[in-house]
Structures are given as C-alpha cells and as structure tokens.
C-alpha cells in the first residue's frame, strides 16, 4: 500500500469521476478537492523521501528520487492552485457563454487526466512509459486547448497536435535506439528500459548509438520544451486555450519535457564521455533565449507575450543544464521551480485582467490598479519577478547562471545579455501601461481568486531570499544526481 | 607672523584702498591726454566718491535685501583680494588663507553677487548686463586660473607669495611660457576691468555696455562702493600682473629696508602700467559683444598653450 498509489490514483480517479459529473456546478469544487488530495499525497511522499531516501515501487517500475519528487510536489501544488484559480475564472467564462456544460465536463476531466499523465511521467522509472506519458499529456492538452471550439483554438490545437506528435515520434525513435544500445549491454531481459539499470551501466553504452539517440530525443522532447526552432506550436497553444490551461502548460508541461531530456542527458554524458550533449543543449538554449526575446518584443497579445517569455526561460534552463556542473544544475533546478510558480501566477493575473478588459490585446488593457489594485500589483510584481528583478527567485538563478557562464563560456554571455535586456525592455514596456495610468476596464461579477497569485509570489520571494534547507537539500542532491560535468 | 608682517599687511591694505582710485584717475588722465581732451584731474575719482557718499540713496521699491548688501560684499571681496596679492612685500600673514585658486574664487564670488544684484530689480538693462558679465566671466576665470597655473607650475606652488618670492629672488631666467601667459593675462584683465575693447567704462550705450548696465540702478553710497570696488579690482589686477611678470622690487620677509624701497618701485610700475593701458585703450576699438567670447577664448587658449610649453620644456 504505497503513497504513490494515491499520488497517481487521485488524479486518475478524478479524471474518471469528472468525466461523469464534470458538467455539474459543484464540479469545480470536486476538481479542487482531487487536486488537493493529490497535493497532500505528494507532500507525504516527499516526507518519505526526505526521511528514508529514494525508493522503488512495484517491481522498480516506479522510482522516486529527490529529483523527481520535488517536481512531483511542485506539479501537484501548481495543479492545485490553478484549480482554485479556475473556479471563478471558468465561472465567468461560462457566463460569457464561451463554455457550455459538456465542455466543462471535458475540461474538468481532462484537467485531472493531464495532471495524472504528468505525475506518471515524473514518477515512472521506465523510459518507455515516460514516452507514453508524454504522448498522453499531449493528447489531453490538445483537448484542453481546443475546448473553446473557436476556429483559432482549433487551429492552435491542430498545430500543437501535429508538431508535438511528430516531435514525440522522434523521441520514440531515440528511445528505441537507447533500448538497442542497452540491449547489447544487458542482454534481452526486459528490464533494459529502466532508468536505474541504465544509469548503472551508462559507461558501457555504445557512444555512437547514444549520441544519435540523444539527437532524436532532444529534437523530440525539445519540441515539447519549446526550444527554438521547434517552438512554433507553443505561443498559439498557450494563447488560444483557457488561461488555467496556459498556466499549467507554461508552468508544468514544459518541466516534464525538460525532466525527460535531463534523464537522457545523464545517460548520454555517461556513454559518450564528451560534452556533446551539453553543447547541443547550450546551443539550443542560447538560440531560444535570443530568438524568443526578439519575438517577445513584437507581441500584442498578452498571453502570446508571456508564452514567448516561457520559451525564453526554458532556453535559459536548457543552457544552464547544458553547462552542467553543480552550480549550473542547481541554478537550472531553482529556475524551473521559480519559473513555474511565477509564470503561472502571472497567467492567473493576466486571466483576470483579460476578463475585465474582454480582450487579450495589451493596448486595450489599461490602468489595472485603478479597477483592481491587487490584480494590478500582482501583475506588476509578477512581471518584475519574471524579468529577473530581485529579491525574487528568478533573479537568484539568473545570477548563478550568468556569473557561471561569464567564466566558463564567455562567448555565450553577449547573447544572454542581449536576450535578457530585450526581454526586460519589451515586457515592462507592455506591462507598465497595462498596470498604471487611466483605466478602460470594468469590474466583474465574481471576485477574482488572488490567493494563488500571492502565494506563488511569496514562494518566489522566499526562494530568492532564503531557500529552506530541506528544499536546498533536494536541489543539491538532484544537481549531484545529474552528475557534475567536467 | 612677525610684527613686520602684520605691519606690511596693513600697509598693503591701506595702500590698495588709497591708491586704487588714484590709479583709475591716472589711467583716465592719460587717456584724455592721448585723445587730446582736457583731463578732469587725477583726483577726480576721490571727488566723485565723496559726492556719492553724501547723496541720499535711491532704491527701487521692490529691491530685495540682497540688492542692498551686494555692494558691501563686493567691496570687501575686492579688499580681501588686494590684501592677499603681494604688492609691497611677500610677507603677508593673510596670504596663506587664500592662494591663487582662492583669489580667482574671490573674484568669481564678487562677480556672481554683482550680477545677482543687477538681476534683482528686474529691469531689462540689469539682466542684460548680468548675462554679459557672466559671459565674460566664464571664459575669463579659467583663463586667469591658467595664467596663475603657468606661474605656479614654474614655481611649484599655488600660494601667491611663494610664487612671487621664487620669481623675484630666484636667479633670473627667461620662461617662454610666461610670455604667452602675460599676453593672456593682459587680455583677461582688459575684459575683467570693463576696458576697451571689451567694454567701455564711460558710455551708457546699451549695445555695448556691460559693467555700467549692471550698476545702472545703484546710486549714492552703494554706487560709490561699487565704483570703488571696481577701481580696487583694477588695482588688484595690475598688482597681480606686476607681481607675476615684473616681480622685482617686491620686498622679502623681514627686511624693512626693502619694504621702504618697494613703495616707489611699485608706484613707478603702476604709473607705467596705467599709461600703457591708456595707450592700448586709445589705440584699439570697441568690439561687438559677440566677438568677446572669441577674444577671451584666445586668451584662454594662450594660457593653456603656456602650460603645455611648461610641460614640454620640463619646467618646475
């Protein structure tokens, strides 16, 4: 009777249950309840890992270690807060007639199934299952993105499906190659896709196959991370779906993809011995940072803009992990965490703002702090945090990344400098008039749910000012687990 | 500070106070002679001052206190200036209190206050004069400073007494830089003392006047103080110039004899200097106000070149 059962069971059950009753009015609260249950279970599991270290579940098909347990908790947490946020939000959407009861049912059940697939992807030890989970996550989110059934949402979903489907297919080929490589070492017994076994013998894996495999995996999962130039689906999907979905997509799904790439990077580094994987990741990371920054600077739609900022941050994280080394890995993990928190918080506020304005076009959203100071300040602080203003955590990780890069890869710093500078300029240029100045907005019937926003911001603040020791313990172990690259 | 020092300090002050109007008078005298006019007499400035002090002061009704005390301040600034410039002796107790840079600062202070006073009443003339005065000042000050630096580079000091002492009693040497500096100094002092070709002390022509425009509103004792301050300024400049470029005859510390000797030498030098000034003024024509910056800019550049020459020849 393992706690993991609950971690995975709650969302799965919730998916089924909400598939039946998701259209009822109380479904929102049911949704929140299941997410809450998941979060509690995740916390318990975390406690276990903290107490008695990593452990296997069910014939080591599942493996819980510091790296994934903290991602699990993060996912469960953001999933919960997002469900809280989506209560009033979706209510308003229903009032505006954008959602109908059957769509609500689809939305709720897919929401739960989506978090199930993510948690599965994190916890499983079988790289094949990782792939399955990723594909399943894609499918569920495709349905979530298209839930409005508007032409643009359909288009976005279609692109999302095709591009990510193809990408995932590459990833599968990569996985097959890895399997092949492992097959030669371990022989034909069926445990050969278990990450633990693989990482045990990563030194002996054939380097040619592994490097080939990593290319496919990076392109494949990189599509889901949103690395330039495979990013094209991301802004559409984030902008056209409901805001809670944008929040979880930006905040969580990208993390899952990143996580799986990391797992494979460890193997590849072990097998190839050279830095090739790291260099590829650094290249993609830099490209994403710079290109996304320039994309950002020309957006008019607020959600598009922040989804580009997600691309930029993912690029930064990829760059950090590409550099490797304890500090950079630490920074990468920290950045993953803070980005999830802050970005989802931003999407929450943006959601309320867009509902008030009745549009996502930034030039028509003005003077939030006149109408609703809390939303306004939430957006302002969120923007400040996401562009890397201390004392928020994003700054902490950017501090470590930049300072490390400056001495280890000086050639990269001009690009980072340019990327970060342009991002800062563009985001604030758009956000300032949205928050300040005279207003054009109207108050709404239902009060916004701002607790999640400020909880997230507070956590981001804590991560910037003083990281709790146990969390730090996680990071350090996880960073070590990813191997201190030479 | 020795008793003699204190004495020579007082002597210098007294001399400045008394001789300043005389010098002005003498220059005017010479100029009238050269222009074939009948001269009012050397003592005319004293009479004018005396008359002015007797008159009732007339003042604009909305003039502020600043306007009232400006003349006193300007006057005392000039007094202090002429107190720290070694005229007779280099043994001046006050001189450590203010070196060359402070001297320039002192002139600047006086200039600022006279301009502010001119702006206070708010007539068109006053502000015009103030602006022109500041225009002259912002180029004249650095030029003067550069001239002094030229000397202090040679003598390795910015304290006036030290400079004069070294220049006067070091064995004679020719410093080409001092030539440039001398020319610059002459131009600056012409501008600073409202002389042709920069300004004309005895016209009230709004196209050209600078100094007169500023004190146009003043009358009686305030005007007297302003005039006296002006002649003190002229005196101070002349003494400074003489001390820098013809320092011979200035007495050293504790040598009463030299002190006695210094007085006639000074008078002689002043007489010649005044005559030359008058001659120059007569010979040259008043220039347009807009050409003043070029004039002073030239002076400034010359002084800087002088400094460069110093460096080049590795003096000091």
């Amino acid at each position: 009777m393992n706690v993991l059962l609950f971690v995975l069971g709650f969302p799965l059950l919730g998916g089924v249950a909400l598939a039946l009753v998701g259209h009822k009015t109380y479904a929102r609260d049911v949704n929140v309840l299941f997410s809450l249950g998941t979060f509690v279970a995740a916390c318990v599991m975390t406690a276990q890992v903290i107490n008695d270290g990593p452990f296997f579940v069910w014939g080591n098909q599942f493996f819980i270690d510091p790296l994934n347990v903290f991602l699990v908790t993060l996912t469960a947490f953001v999933g919960m807060t997002t469900s809280i946020f989506s209560r009033p939000y979706m209510r308003v959407e229903q009032d505006h007639g954008k959602m109908t009861p059957p769509r609500m049912r689809l939305y709720h059940s897919m929401y739960q199934l989506f978090s199930f697939t993510m948690l599965l992807g994190f916890t499983t030890n079988n790289l094949g299952i990782v792939w399955v989970a990723m594909e399943a996550a894609t499918l569920t989110t495709v349905l979530l993105v298209s839930v409005y059934r508007t032409p643009s949402s359909l288009e976005a979903a279609w692109k999302y499906f095709i591009l990510c489907g193809v990408g995932i297919a590459q990833a599968l080929f990569g996985t097959i190659l890895v399997y092949m490589a492992a097959d030669k070492v371990l022989g034909a017994e069926s445990a050969t896709l278990l990450w633990t076994n693989l990482s045990a013998i990563k030194g002996e894996l054939d380097s040619t196959i592994m490097s080939l495999a990593f290319v496919f995996l990076l392109v494949g999962y990189g599509t889901k991370i949103g690395l330039v130039p495979m990013h094209s689906w991301l802004p559409d999907a984030h902008a056209e779906g409901p805001t809670p979905v944008s929040a979880v997509l930006s905040g969580l799904l990208l993390n899952v993809a990143m996580y799986s790439v990391l797992r494979f990077k460890v193997l590849t580094d072990g097998a190839v011995g050279t830095q090739v994987a790291g260099q590829l990741m650094m290249g993609f990371g830099l490209l994403s940072v710079v290109v996304a920054a320039f994309f950002l600077s020309r957006q008019k739609d607020v959600k598009r803009m922040f989804s580009y900022s997600s691309i930029e941050h993912m690029g930064l994280i990829t760059f950090a992990f590409g550099m490797g080394g304890p500090i950079a890995n630490f920074a990468g993990l920290l950045h993953m965490t803070v980005h999830s928190l802050v970005k989802s918080a931003i999407f929450f506020t943006v959601g309320h703002a867009t509902q008030k304005a009745g549009t996502q076009v930034m030039s028509e959203i003005r003077g939030l702090i006149k109408v609703n100071p809390t939303v306004g300040w939430g957006l302002m602080l969120g923007a400040m945090a996401i562009v890397g203003m201390p004392p928020f955590g994003v700054f902490a990780s950017e501090f470590l990344i930049l300072t490390t890069a400056m001495r280890e890869h000086p050639w990269a710093t001009p690009f980072l400098f340019m990327g970060l500078g342009v991002t800062f300029a563009s985001i604030l240029l758009r956000v300032l008039p949205m928050v300040f100045g005279d207003t054009t907005l109207k108050p709404l019937a239902h009060p916004p749910a701002l607790i999640p926003v400020f909880v997230h911001m507070a956590l981001g603040l804590v991560l910037g000012l003083s990281i709790p020791p146990y969390l730090n313990g996680w990071y350090v172990q996880a960073a070590a687990m990813m191997g201190a690259a030479p | 500070m020795s008793a003699l020092g204190v004495f020579s300090q007082f002597l210098a002050l007294l001399l400045a106070l008394l001789l300043a109007p005389l010098l002005t008078g003498w220059v005017n005298q010479c100029r009238h002679w050269m222009q074939n006019k009948s001269a009012p007499g050397v003592l005319q400035p004293y009479r004018a001052l005396h008359k002015l002090f007797h008159k009732d002061s007339v003042m604009a009704e909305h003039a502020s206190p600043l306007y009232r005390f400006a003349p006193y301040l300007v006057f005392s600034c000039m007094l202090l200036a002429s107190a720290i410039i070694p005229t007779l002796s280099t043994d001046l107790p006050l001189s450590p209190a203010a070196d060359a840079i402070a001297l320039v600062g002192l002139f600047a202070l006086a200039r600022v206050f006279i301009s502010l006073a001119a702006m206070d009443v708010g007539t068109a003339f006053g502000t015009l004069g103030a602006r022109r005065e500041m225009l002259v000042g912002f180029l004249a000050e650095p030029a003067l400073l550069m001239v002094l630096f030229c000397a202090s580079m040679i003598t390795g000091s910015t304290s006036l007494t030290a400079i004069v002492e070294t220049l006067a009693h070091r064995d004679f040497a020719i410093y080409p830089s001092m030539l440039l500096a001398g020319v610059a100094f002459t131009m600056v002092s012409l501008a600073e003392n409202a002389r042709v070709p920069v300004d004309n002390p005895d016209t009230h022509l709004e196209l050209t006047m600078i100094h007169e425009a500023m004190i146009l509103e003043y009358s009686a004792r305030h005007l007297a103080l302003m005039e006296w301050a002006a002649s003190l300024k002229l005196f101070a400049y002349s003494c400074a110039g003489l001390a820098l470029f013809f320092p011979w005859g200035v007495a050293e510390a504790n040598s009463p004899l030299a002190l006695l000797l210094a007085l006639p030498v000074l008078l002689l030098k002043l007489a010649i200097g005044g005559a030359l000034l008058a001659a120059f003024e007569t010979a040259s024509a008043k220039m347009r106000v807009f050409r003043v910056p070029e004039f002073l800019g030239t002076a400034f550049l010359m002084a800087v070149i002088g400094l460069l020459v110093n460096v080049l020849l590795g003096v000091g």
């Binding site: 700054f395 930049l402 710093t413 | 203010a98 602006r131 030290a162 110093n310």
Partner: protein
C-alpha cells in the same frame, strides 16, 4: 544579527542594521496606515529622519574603527548575506544618513494628498529605498549587493512614477529602469569575472583572486559600464534628465544627492578594492569619460528652461568631475604615487559629500517652489525672494556651493581637485604629462560654467519681478520643509568651513583604498587646509570668511558713521520708456542664449524664427540631446528591425513549422555524424 568580531557585543554593524530594520518597519507602518495622510506625514517621515541621524552618528564612529563583519541567515544556501562595515562603507553611510535626514524632514512637509500613489505606499517605497541604499554599501558578497542594488532601482522606479497618470512620467520611469537594469546585468557579469570561477561570491574571495590583466580589464570595463549607467556617465546619461523631473522633489533629491553617489561607490569598490591590479589606461579612460560627461552636463544645464532638468544636468556635470577625480587617483595609483592618489581621491570624495548636500538642498527648494507656484518652467517664475525668503536664502547657499564659490563646500572640492591635477606633472609618461594642463583647463572651464548656470537658476527664479500674476501670492515653505532645508544648508556651510575635520573623516577611506592619506598633513595645520606642504598651497576658508565678514561689517559701520544711512524707495528707472512690464526681463532662454551660440555643436537645435510678415511673430528654439538620436534611437530601431525579421519565422503554415523541425533534425544528425 550575529557578528563575527565580538560575539554578543553590540557593534556598529548591528546599529546600522537596526536603522535599516527600523526603516523597513516604518515603511510597513506606512502600508498599514495606507491613507491616513497626517499620520504618515507628521509621524513616520520625521521618525525616519531621526533614524537617519542615528545612522550618521554610527557611521562617524565606524569610520575610525576597524572593519566589522556580519552574516545574516538569508540569501542563497551556500551564500548567506555577508555584510561588512569598513571605512569606505562608513563614509557612504555618513553621506546617506546626513542627506536623508534633511530630505526626510523636508518630505514630511512635502507630500500632499492627491493623485497617484497613496501616501502610505509612498512611505513604504521611500523607506525601502533608504534601506536598500544602506544595504548596498554594507554588502560584502555579490548576491546581497545585487539584491540591494536592484531593490534600490525598483523602489526608486516606483517612487519616480508615483504620479503615474502622466504618460511622460511613466516613460521616464521606464527609461530609467531599463538603463538601470542593463547596467545591473553588466555589473553581474563583472562579478562573474571577479569570482574567477571559484563559485565563491564573497568580496573577500574576490580580493584574494589575482586576475590576468586581460580579465581584470574586462571586469573594470564592465563595472564602469554598469555603475556608470546608474551614475549617469556619458553616454548612458539619458535617463537622468528625464527621471529627476518626473520624480517628486524629495525623491529627486535622494536620487541625485545619494543614489548617484552609491553608483560611484560601486566604481570605487570594484576598481580600487576588489581589483588588485591597476592599469594606467583605466585611469585615463575614467578621466576622459568623466570630463566629457562634466562638460556635456554643464553645457546642457546652462540652456535648460525647466528647473529640475537644469539641476539634473548639473548633477551629470558633478558626477563627471568626481569620475575625473577617480580616474586621476587610479592613474597615480597605477604608478604607485600613493600620496597624490590619496589627494585626488580625497578631492573626489569631498566633492561627493558636498554635492550630496547642496544638490539635495536645491532639489528640495525646487519642490518648495513648485508647491508654492505649481510652476516648474523658469520662464514663468521670478521675484520669489520677496514672497518666500526662507526658500530663497537657503537656495542661495546651495547655488553658491554648486557654483563652486568660496567659502562653501563645492569650492573646497574643486580646490583640492585642481591641486591634485597640478601635481600630475612628474608622471613617468610624457604623454600623460601633456594631458594635465588640458584637463585642468577643462575643469576650470566647467567650474566657471556651473557658476553661470547657478546665477541663471537663482536669478531667474528668485530675483527680478514676478513674470506671472499668480506668483504674487506664493507662500513660503512650511515648518518641516524649512527644517529639512536648514539642515542641508548647515551641511553645506560646515563642509565649506571645516575642511580639515571632514578630510579627517575621509582619510581612513583613502588609507584603505590607496594606502595613503592627508590626515597627517592636515592635522598639524589646524586652521589651514594644507594638502602637501604650506609652501605648495594652502587655503583657510574660516579666515577667508572672517576676512570678508570683517571688512563687510567695518565698511558698513564706517559708511554709516562717516556719512549716513538715508534711503528713499522709488519705482525703478524706466529708461524713459513707461510701458515696461515684467515680461520684458531676460527670459531663461535669453540668459542661456550666448552659451547656446558658443557651444552650438553640442546641441541638436530646431529653431522657429519669426518672419517680417508674421501677424503675431514668435520665436522658439528647441534644444535636444544629440546622443539620443545617435545612440538610443538607433539601438531601438535595430531591435525593432531584428524582431521584424524574426517575426517572419512565425508565419502560420504548419508545413513550414514541420520543415523547421525536419531541417533541425537533419542538421543535428549531420553534426553528430562528424
């Protein structure tokens, strides 16, 4: 707050932290009492001022004591907040405390009910700003430094846009924050170089590293760029004349008086303390930058017609002079001429101190004037000395100090600076020797020009006749405002009259940074300020002042005694033209016009000249900053252009998107195939 030196004992660091915490608490109280204006104004701000004075006292005693360390249980896990209070920090804490005391008192009377940010929030931002200022100079590792630094930028940014309904104010704040952040990124990279790949970000470690000249130079240049951006050094000055006018006056006073100095503190810390090697061209670079900045600033400030813009440009000028001083000190240091380096550094620090006071004072006075007249355009002011004497006379002191006239602080600073330039002869390289006269000349010119500016500033605002009707019922500043301004006036006067005592405070700093100082020479000559030797140069402001005052009084008394003091008040002489009115006085533009002509090539001017045929002929001239067109707009255009190109990538066709992935895949396969 556990301190390392004497565990348990209550040492300076703890006192400073106490002040910081107190400020933060005051800010929080402001949030609690968000809209209770009277409480915020008459209780919170004065209390903050009291703590500023405490800080000042602590800093004074800390300046002479040995460095103290403290470690706060905050920050990154491997990197808690390291704080260090050495003589350098102490000096700047003194500056912060001294100026902020006056400004806070002024602010207590200044902030009014009304538009924009509620007073409580203002109070929070203000005191967070103060606290972050104090923390920056205390920081002893890169992380806490950057945190405090950016907090400073952010809080001041929110203060600047506190009246955010005006779009131009918002854009000013935006420009400010942008430049500040770009600078911060550069500083970050600078620290990245300094930590030399050890992963240890404490300053102690950075001091221990010995970088190759190449890396050291990179660090120096990055540092100068980053901190220069914050200080308003050319060509990154453009935010300054926008942000200062936009901000409320006490905030501009703090930004101009204190924050710019904190930026210079960064330059000092990095180039003198953290970097162990010093290369001569660093000094030359800094000197050139500084002089260019100073000349640019002063020339622009003379032609401004808006009070606060004028002062902002004059701040740029002063910053430039300080940078020149630093550069000279670096030059001397790189040739091991410690005494002269100390002299130059002392001059620069003295200038910082006096500039902090008089510029704070001047900005406060603009605030008072704007409150009294709701007018910031010089062309519409005039004659205020009769309606608001307090403001006028204290402004006069500030203006004289700013013009660098004896016997005020500004003059002492310039005096020392010129002295240190005079000593530059005797540098090993003749090329540098040739540099000296030119630099000295430039400095003299700049000083004179600032005199011009200040006469314009004071004369046009306070003297003459009121140019508008409404001015005649302008009211003088309130009690708190007077208090604050008087405090700052006292600062200016003290700095002017007691240079030796001030230098004694600066001395530990120079001892620490360049291992040389002037204390010994100063100590033996009680009233005289003697940089090196009495033969070389000396200056005694006190005797100077006594001389002037004595002769003043004497003349006054004598005139009264020998003659009389009779006075008649009449209307001024109208030159025989009875229709004169106040509009016929020289305008601000008119006063700046000669400078505009002489330095024409500095400006980007657009003139509108009247025609003979015009029904109502009007003359207008608009003076703009050419750098804006040569540097900033091109960069902006470049970004737009690139982003337009990048935008082509995202053109909607799924086939093309697939093609991207496909090509990427192929290319990477080819890459790994090698």
């Amino acid at each position: 707050m556990n301190s390392m030196t004497v565990p348990g004992a209550w040492i300076h660091v703890d006192w400073v932290l106490l002040v910081v915490v107190a400020w933060l608490v005051i800010g929080m109280l402001g949030i609690v009492a968000l809209r209770r204006f009277r409480f915020v104004a008459t209780v919170l701000f004065p209390v903050g001022a009291v703590f500023s004075i405490v800080l000042m006292a602590v800093a004074l005693s800390a300046a002479f004591s040995s460095p103290e360390l403290a470690v706060l249980p905050l920050g990154l896990p491997q990197l808690p907040f390291h704080l260090r209070l050495d003589s350098l920090s102490a000096f700047f804490l003194l500056l912060i405390g001294g100026v902020s005391a006056g400004v806070s008192a002024f602010a207590a009377g200044y902030f009014r009910q009304g538009e924009g940010t509620p007073p409580g929030l203002m109070c929070l931002e203000y005191h967070v700003f103060l606290a972050s200022l104090a923390l920056v100079v205390m920081a002893d590792d890169a992380y806490v430094f950057m945190v405090a630094w950016e907090t400073m930028a952010m809080s001041s940014f929110f203060l600047v846009i506190s009246n955010h309904r005006k779009p131009e104010i918002r854009s000013a704040g935006y420009l400010y924050l942008l430049v500040a952040h770009v600078g911060a990124l550069a500083i970050l990279l600078c620290f990245g170089v300094l930590q030399a790949n050890t992963g240890d970000y404490t300053f102690a470690n950075m001091r221990a590293q010995h970088l190759s000249p190449f890396w050291a130079s990179i660090a120096f240049v990055l540092g100068v760029f980053g901190f220069g951006a914050k200080a308003g050094v050319l060509p990154l000055h453009a935010w300054l004349p926008e942000a200062h006018p936009a901000a409320p006056s006490p905030v501009s006073a703090l930004m101009s008086g204190v924050m710019l100095k904190i930026a210079l503190y960064g330059i000092l810390r990095v180039s003198f303390d953290l970097l162990q090697t010093h290369i001569w061209w660093w000094g030359v670079l800094l000197m050139a930058l500084g002089l260019a900045t100073a000349l640019f600033g002063v020339v622009f400030s003379t032609v401004q017609t808006e009070m606060k813009r004028l002062l902002a440009y004059s701040s740029i000028e002063n910053i430039g002079l300080m940078c020149a001083g630093f550069g000279l000190a670096l030059l001397f240091l790189s040739y091991g001429m410690k005494t002269y380096a100390a002299l130059a550094l002392t001059a620069a620090c003295y200038h910082m101190l006096s500039h902090a006071f008089f510029k704070g004072l001047l900005f406060c006075s603009t605030g008072a004037v704007m409150h009294a007249t709701s007018e910031r355009n010089l062309g519409k002011l005039g004659g205020l000395i009769r309606y608001m004497p307090w403001v006028a006379w204290s402004t006069l002191v500030g203006a004289l100090a700013c013009a660098g006239l004896p016997p005020f602080g500004g003059f002492v600073a310039e005096w020392l600076l010129l002295q240190s330039f005079l000593f530059t002869t005797g540098l090993p390289s003749s090329f540098l020797d040739m540099l000296v006269p030119v630099t000295a000349a430039l400095i003299a010119l700049i000083a004179a020009l600032s005199g011009y500016t200040m006469v314009k500033y004071f004369g046009v605002i306070f003297l003459g006749q009121p140019r508008e009707e409404k001015l005649s019922h302008a009211h003088d500043a309130g009690l708190w405002e007077r208090l604050g301004m008087v405090w700052l006036v006292l600062g200016c006067v003290m700095l002017g009259l007691f240079p030796n005592q001030v230098i004694a405070v600066i001395d530990p700093l120079t001892q620490r940074l360049v291992h040389g100082g002037m204390a010994h020479t100063v100590a033996e000559s009680s009233w005289l300020l003697v940089p090196v030797s009495i033969e070389r140069a000396s200056y005694a402001p006190f005797i100077f002042l006594l001389g002037v005052l004595a002769s003043f009084g004497l003349v006054f008394v004598l005139v009264r005694k020998l003659y009389h003091g009779r006075l008649r008040r009449v209307p001024p002489w109208d030159c025989g033209y009875p229709f004169q009115n106040a509009r016929m006085q020289d305008t601000a533009e008119g006063f700046g016009q000669p400078i505009r002509q002489i330095f024409e090539l500095f400006f980007r001017m657009t003139r509108e000249l009247p025609q003979a045929s015009d029904a109502s002929p009007r003359y207008a001239v608009k003076v703009e900053d050419p750098l804006w067109y040569w540097l900033y707009l091109p960069v902006a255009r470049a970004v737009e252009w690139i982003s337009a190109l990048v935008g082509l990538l995202q053109q909607g066709r799924i086939a093309i998107y697939l093609l991207y992935s496909f090509v990427t895949l192929i290319v990477m396969l080819l890459v790994v195939k090698q």
